[in-house]
């Protein structure tokens, strides 16, 4: 356990600068976006209401009120989210390959450590998941703050205060990132964890068998998906479902857990017996 924590701390440290950069970019761009959008809206108020004498009601019916809903669809909010997702997806591959192709072949030292090699796998997996979840948590904290910033910049008569739920309902990606029910949260991030685990195992296949390993890795992912979707495939073939919807749900849950365990065991085997530097 201690070795795992050390490795986890080490992996977190290696990406900390990149992670903080993502946090910084997200906060800066989104706050800037809210300020610019609010300023542009208040400029409109100044032009039409204060200089041209347009009535507030007329202004509102022509331009609408200002709320987070207006900016949540813009690149100011969506851009940093999509950027963070892309960077983390790339880092899911880099977290392994940098050990082989970095300045020093760091994987030598990692594999020589007097600890179970699977701890390296768990440390990397935990790092990715913690990075993902903490960036999502950042976004959860940021949205009410952005709403406050906007409310302080736009006159009260023109500002519509939105609840958190109303804000995220405006952007589908947000409803996937932070679903309203905790059970959906577990399902979404459980599937995410499974996907990262499968990808890690495929990477280890490639690192173990090189060119052949790419094929093994693809076959491994295909086999895993086949196992997970086998009940659904059976229904599609037979056109009959012998399971009721909730039973199918529980079976899928069990299959996902089994594939996750299978992936961990396969990775352990590859790390202990097959991996080469």
């Amino acid at each position: 356990m201690k070795n795992y924590v050390k490795l986890f701390n080490f992996e977190m440290g290696r990406f900390l600068k990149g992670y903080l950069a993502l946090v910084g970019i997200t906060v800066a761009v989104q706050v800037l976006g809210v300020v610019i959008a609010s300023r542009s809206y208040t400029n409109k108020i100044n032009k039409y209401v204060y200089h041209e004498g347009m009535a507030i009601d007329e202004f509102l019916s022509q331009f609408g009120d200002m709320s987070m809903y207006a900016i949540i669809h813009s690149l100011w909010i969506q851009g940093p989210i999509l950027f963070c997702i892309s960077v983390l997806l790339i880092y899911t591959l880099l977290i392994w390959y940098r050990d082989w192709f970095g300045k020093n072949t760091f994987i030598y030292r990692l594999l020589m450590l007097p600890t179970e090699r699977i701890n390296i796998f768990f440390a990397k997996l935990t790092t990715i998941m913690v990075m993902v979840l903490s960036l999502v948590a950042l976004q959860i904290m940021l949205l009410p703050v952005l709403n406050k910033v906007m409310s302080s910049l736009v006159p009260e008569a023109y500002f519509m205060n939105l609840s958190f739920k109303e804000m995220i309902s405006g952007f589908d990606v947000l409803t996937i990132l932070f679903p309203f029910s905790f059970s959906d949260f577990m399902i979404h991030y459980g599937l995410g964890l499974l996907a990262v685990t499968l990808l890690f195992t495929a990477i280890l296949f490639e690192r173990s068998f090189r060119l052949k390993g790419i094929v093994y890795g693809i076959l491994y992912i295909a086999l895993s998906l086949l196992i997970i979707f086998s009940p659904v495939i059976m229904i599609a073939i037979t056109e009959k479902s012998y399971l009721y919807p909730l039973e199918l749900f529980y079976l899928e849950l069990i299959l996902c857990v089994l594939v996750f365990i299978m992936s961990i065991l396969t990775s352990r085997f590859l790390l202990n017996k097959k991996i080469t530097v």
């Binding site: 903490s134 959860i140 309203f180 056109e239």
Partner: protein, 410 residues
């Protein structure tokens, strides 16, 4: 400890944020309004298994909701688990599962169940529709006798089905181990390319598991009567989930007429009425014409209860329901119910018959409110009257219900 701040602080803050977020979401469940079916008079039990599925259009969005007497479910707010739980709420299947156990497994989504005392028969015609493979025109019959605990399943190949492109199970009857299945078999006439439908009774001997007879009882050509008039064939049985000893075959005609109005000018309106009615006695194998009394012209046949046939006509502000006993050639009841007026001043109503009850709603197109009246068609009593209302701290003002459906058998 200090050098591990990253692995302590980041996960800890993340966890606190998520816990706070889900506590907040749970304590403020729905931002949108809570609609419910409020009783105005009658027995609340009548609507316990009723759901009004409708789309609510707000000024800034829309959502699909299911409204019951207890409240409303916004379908998009359901979690995956809750959604699966919700779709498992089919009372017929749940009742059959409780009674017949694993026999129901694999049969819930295909074919139909027919129940007779403690005998349950499942007829699976799912291999038939839209298949080019004529070999597949088979029907699987599965039976479970709860008393003897005997289960049986067999497949029968229907004879003379080569020309049909689609077979559809209409109903079935079971008497003395003889199963009769009525199907509507559709085909296209090669020369005229007209679509024709044969209604065929297949007689199956349960003991030998073979089709012993196949007889065409009725034939129908689907074509327009005139440019603005057409008709369709519809079937009615008195028992929805049980074997029937007869079916009513209705030819319903539709006509587009132009209505002149002082306010709106000329506009098109569609009228419907029952043009012809036949009764097929499955046990006696006899098809007979039903004479519809002249005073029921312009009415539509909607429901059958034994020998009594129920006809409906929607007048401008009311709905007329007439019971007619065809065996005695006698009108047995005449009932008139108030229709609904919508916000545009139009009278409109939708009628659904179920278990000798008439459900009258104003669920057509758009409406600011949904009202429901339940009538007992045998006694003529109004047994429930209700209206969709809002509850909660923040009722919404700008909304309209659209495309609503009444689910009686949840």
């Amino acid at each position: 400890m200090g050098k591990y701040w990253k692995v302590i602080m980041i996960p800890l803050i993340t966890m606190i944020v998520f816990i706070t977020y889900y506590i907040h979401v749970q304590s403020n469940p729905v931002a949108s309004a809570q609609f419910f079916l409020a009783k105005q008079s009658g027995d609340e039990k009548e609507v316990e298994h009723i759901s009004l599925d409708t789309e609510i259009n707000y000024t800034d969005g829309r959502e699909m909701v299911g409204i019951t007497n207890k409240g409303s479910i916004v379908y998009s707010n359901l979690s995956i688990y809750e959604h699966l739980k919700h779709i498992s709420k089919n009372s017929q299947i749940n009742r059959l599962r409780k009674k017949y156990g694993s026999f129901i497994r694999g049969k819930a989504d295909v074919g139909r169940f027919f129940e007779k005392d403690d005998l349950l028969v499942h007829i699976d015609d799912s291999l038939n529709p839209f298949t080019d493979n004529r070999e597949k025109h088979n029907i699987t019959v599965s039976m479970y006798d709860l008393k003897t605990k005997e289960k049986d399943s067999f497949e029968v190949k229907l004879p003379h089905v080569d020309k049909y492109r689609w077979l559809f199970l209409v109903t079935a009857s079971l008497n003395d181990n003889i199963l009769k299945i009525i199907t509507s078999n559709e085909y296209e006439e090669p020369k005229s390319h007209r679509t024709l439908t044969d209604y065929v009774v297949y007689t199956i001997d349960i003991d030998t598991k073979k089709v012993i007879d196949a007889e065409k009882v009725f034939e129908y050509t689907n074509e327009e009567i005139s440019e603005n008039q057409y008709s369709i064939i519809d079937f009615h049985t008195d028992k929805r989930d049980e074997f029937s000893d007869f079916i009513m075959i209705e030819e319903r005609s539709y006509e587009d007429i132009t209505v002149e109005s002082e306010e709106e000018g000329a506009y098109n309106q569609q009228t419907e009425s029952t043009a012809a009615l036949k009764k097929y006695d499955i046990k006696a194998n006899k098809l007979s014409d039903i004479t519809i009394p002249k005073e029921l012209e312009g009415y539509t046949f909607e429901h059958v209860n034994g020998d009594v046939l129920y006809f409906v006509k929607q007048a401008e502000q009311s709905i007329h329901v007439v019971g007619y006993d065809h065996s005695k050639n006698k009108i047995t009841s005449k009932q008139t119910f108030d229709s609904f007026v919508d916000e545009y001043g139009d009278y409109r109503a939708n009628t659904i018959f179920y278990n000798n009850k008439l459900y009258v709603t104003n669920l057509i197109d758009e409406s600011k409110s949904i009202e429901l009246i339940i009538e007992d068609i045998v006694t003529g009593d109004t047994i429930y009257k209700g209206k969709v209302e809002q509850k909660g701290k923040a009722p919404v003002k700008d909304y309209v219900f659209q495309n609503a459906f009444l689910n009686i058998n949840q």
